[in-house]
Symmetry: C2
Amino acid sequence: MSNRGVLIVLSGPSGVGKGTVRQAIFENYENDFEFSISMTTRGKRPGEVEGKDYFYSSREEFEELIAQDGFLEYAEYVDNLYGTPLKYVEDTLASGRDVFLEIEVQGAKQVQKKMPEGIFVFLVPPNFKELEDRLVHRGSESHELVQQRLSKAVDELRQIRYYDYVVVNDKVSNASRKVKNIIESEHLKVSRNISDFETFIKEME
Amino acid sequence: MSNRGVLIVLSGPSGVGKGTVRQAIFENYENDFEFSISMTTRGKRPGEVEGKDYFYSSREEFEELIAQDGFLEYAEYVDNLYGTPLKYVEDTLASGRDVFLEIEVQGAKQVQKKMPEGIFVFLVPPNFKELEDRLVHRGSESHELVQQRLSKAVDELRQIRYYDYVVVNDKVSNASRKVKNIIESEHLKVSRNISDFETFIKEME
């Protein structure tokens, strides 16, 4: 079917394992979607490939694109800008292919404003204890820093109400299978296929 | 989770293979749902079991239940009444279990009015030719009767716009897997789980 592709946004609190779930989906399933490539102002690292790992740009170019409203979402981390170029996403969706975005809660919020028709999947830890453990064991940070992270995680969890689906990351294999099912089911929505069937019904009359 | 169960309605034009797909779902998957049992005024046949195949009732009792608005849907076929008792469905959903209904398009229309929160899945043939073949090869009926059936099928296909999902019955194994996925994904909707997560977030604060 030549319908428009679907934008899938996988997000969730820091430490929940978004990256691992995304990787499992890309490694274990036959996918008909593109992983969205971000643009960044940080320098290219050895082994990275332009247009595969990132689109590299100068800060000037990046800021010009921001001014032109050219990002689906963007953020600054450690003095570098990272963003999802809107044109790349738009072109891919228009060609009938899905776009898969795995991003932080803040970025997802921006996407919801620009493309509310996307499918927003929120990944959650099986319980708070586990999230705490993951955040604590990340490094040998101070108690204060860990507390800050936890309170940020609670704030992020509150965003769940703005999402379409919630997937518990109890096991990566379960979580990735569920996300994959959600994508497949969304493609079966009548609203995404109605034009095909109107043609079909016309042929029959 | 102790949420309310989900009502799943599988329908589609006559001859599309609803019964076969339903059977495959019940035979090949671990299901957490109840197949809705109809009430009927037709006599019990040898081997049938009350409360398993049907709930048997007199016409009088059945009509009284209609008057009390006690059916989710009902219809008359060959002088016998068949219907889905509302109380049975309500009780099962309230207990947290899903109810699976496989019914004709006319019946599904009645269900949509009474329980619009249900998941309505429309099964379609891979193409018109195949539906025609299935309807033609059902028996040695007259050309006229076959034409009547086809025109009825077109009318039924038009109902697709009132459904949530469309599944092409190209192969029973594909179609049943897709319906199963839809049910699983619907359970992951944030709207069906938000109360659990509100408790979870409260615990964390």
